[in-house]
Subunit: 78 residues, 7 copies
């Protein structure tokens, strides 16, 4: 686990490309989906995205979405 | 699927030019329409735009609109 | 309709100079008026501006107004 | 009315120096007063400023005020 | 009253150094105090600051405070 | 009290390093503690920090905290 | 404890790499977890993150999360 540089938060986004994440948004909505891409503003494209209610049940199937980073509270690999 | 560069979120907007998208806004309004253009702030021009209520029913026909990127939660091809 | 460059959202504002638009604001107010000028922040000057309530009825005649771009949800030619 | 350059929204502020304007703020307060100066952030100094309630009645006499541009929805000459 | 340059809003802050002002904040709180210093973000240091309720009565004596400019609606000399 | 330069608001933060301050936050929470360090964004580290309710009573002992400047309304030496 | 330079708030984040912190967010949610990395925007990656309710009880186990700095009120070592 030798490192040439200090780990940075966006490294986590790099690791989850192609994997499923749970994203909590400011309006208390949660979105689950597979990460396709992201940028420096934390804008994220998800495939097979699903909107979840506060009990974690699927509220809507959204397909592919481009999510604006500014609305994100946290991103978590699942 | 060879790539010369890493995919980025805005590539999705490039792909949906001329296609219909559903856009969820911060005030819980959703807008559906055909993408004509976009810029780096995620400002988007839609043609044949329709405002949808929370049940997905058409609330108002808006025609052509220039939508400010700052109000967008997500953009989804439909 | 040959184009030398990609269309951008602000091109719509250029086209509606001298024409009437409907502008939806964040506080659920809508304003209708004739566009005189705009800038890169989407600040817009309207002549003969009218404030509309949620039923689209005229609530107040505002005359000439300088509208701050940051409050705009969308601009639509009418 | 020949013009050497395109009109811009802030030109309206230049024209109303020394004149009375009505300014609608985000918190539904309106302020009326005589414009003394403004800057690129739309910060505005008003003399003889009065705070108006939603019926347009005078709620408070404020004298000279420096108003932060970020709270402004629109500025209208009266 | 000859002027070598156009007056700017922050000139008002320069003039009130050492004088009392009333500052209206976004959360409907008003603060009164003597201006000691300010900067380009409208951050302001007040001495002998007092918090006022909506009736203008003293709610709390705050002493010296450094007020963040971003919360200010307006500053008014008293 | 001769001065080589104009006083600035952040000078107050320099003076209170090692001293106790009361910090009012946007969400109506107040925090009291001893200032260890600060930066240009008004991010502040407090030691022996205590969260106070609106009556000024201690609601929680927080120990050392790094407070984001963007949430601050004012900082006051106590 | 001789110092070559003035201490800065982000030094606290450097010290808590690998340690547990409590993070208070704007929406009154608190998150506890072990800091893995952070950046200049105060974006923070936590391992073994837990969401706490206002009584400090565990509401949800979140695993690894990337938390956006903009939602943070304060970070406190525990």
């Amino acid at each position: 686990m030798a490192q040439d540089r200090q780990e940075r938060p966006f490294d986590l986004l790099n690791k989850v490309i192609g994997q499923h994440v749970l994203i909590r948004l400011k309006n208390n909505v949660s979105i689950r989906g597979k990460v396709t891409s992201f940028d420096a503003h934390m804008n994220i494209v998800l495939e097979s995205a699903e909107e979840l209610n506060s009990d974690g049940e699927i509220k809507a199937k959204l397909g592919t979405i481009l999510l604006r980073g500014g609305n994100i509270i946290f991103v978590s690999p699942v």
